[in-house]
Symmetry: C2
Subunit: 199 residues, 2 copies
């Protein structure tokens, strides 16, 4: 679906918005039309916020999380447990894990997952400096990657590189909290049986 509307500026905006994560063709047009219809100030404020983020933010020189300055707020915090590194696909996963409050270690953002059909090779991920980081006082690397094909492949790749150098774990698999077995797919159910715990 792409509207046959004779307005190149609107189309260009819709095309830009379509490249955002989770935004489809219809959502991009809805946003573009909404922005074009409402007060110019709204679009200008958004443009300003975008420019500010490009100018003020960078990636942490140590873990590749988002940062203002050289290090992110986690790597800059002396109270974090630096014997543990949690490996995540992107900063969003890091933010969600931080929200739990259950983890006090450091992170390492890979910047993607291995995906041959999307041209993402192990070389294009932030793996090399993870190996460097592991050399100094790290006891455990926790792989918190998605339980998808690409996530599994990437977990196995990273685990193989680290084997023998450091303890490698991954997030537990099983029933999401609040979900009944009857609504769980067979692969998750099988994993939950394998990872059963004594009560």
């Amino acid at each position: 679906m792409s509207f046959k509307v004779p307005y190149s500026h609107l189309r260009r905006l819709a095309n830009q918005l379509k490249r955002l994560p989770g935004i489809g063709e219809r959502g991009a047009w809805r946003m573009a039309i909404d922005l074009a219809s409402s007060s110019p100030r709204r679009a200008r404020d958004l443009a300003k916020a975008l420019i500010a983020v490009t100018e003020k933010m960078a990636l942490c020189g140590k873990c590749h999380n988002l940062a203002e300055g050289e290090l992110c707020w986690i790597c800059a915090d002396p109270h974090r447990d630096n014997s543990r590194i949690c490996v995540v696909e992107d900063a969003l996963d890091l933010f969600f894990i931080e929200e739990t409050g259950a983890y006090k270690g450091l992170y390492h953002v890979l910047g993607g997952l291995i995906s041959p059909w999307e041209g993402v090779t192990p070389q294009s991920l932030n793996v090399r400096d993870l190996l460097e980081r592991v050399k100094v006082g790290v006891k455990e690397v926790i792989l918190a990657l998605p339980s998808t094909l690409e996530g599994e492949a990437t977990s196995q790749y990273v685990a193989r590189l680290l084997r023998g150098r450091v303890k490698v774990t991954r997030l537990g698999r099983g029933l999401p909290v609040g979900v009944e077995p009857e609504f769980t797919d067979p692969i998750t159910l099988r994993e939950s049986l394998r990872s059963r715990e004594e009560v």
Copy 2:
């Protein structure tokens, strides 16, 4: 859900994005993080597209559709049937109706729906100039408003204003194409019985 991340620029961007239609808290953060993590050029291109739209686009002086210049491409087209006006909530609905290719008349964009609990009164909608437009050679006004509470209230309000001046119709109600009666809600089913057609 709002992340306790100490980055005001990122938070500001997420807050701006959250005001876009169909974007929730999580989606806004996902987009903000994605934009902050990827090349600065991407965010700058989006900012440029936003500024271009604010500078080049306005609302049509006749029907309130989006326009480059004084009139939109529909009002400016001499081949449209100007005896019919289709009333829509916003430009997005207009674009979707245009996509069907089934309508060759003009439009009138109300710019919202009456909603007392959101402070949208009939006075804040583009109704007054619809009454003016109807005076000159218009035979039919088609109400293409949502079949929601607010949509129905607005349809009834506009229909009451126009009654006696022009023929007023609304979009047909019934089963969406490809949907079985058993999966249709009772109100739609009742409407489809009422609007049954001889075959």
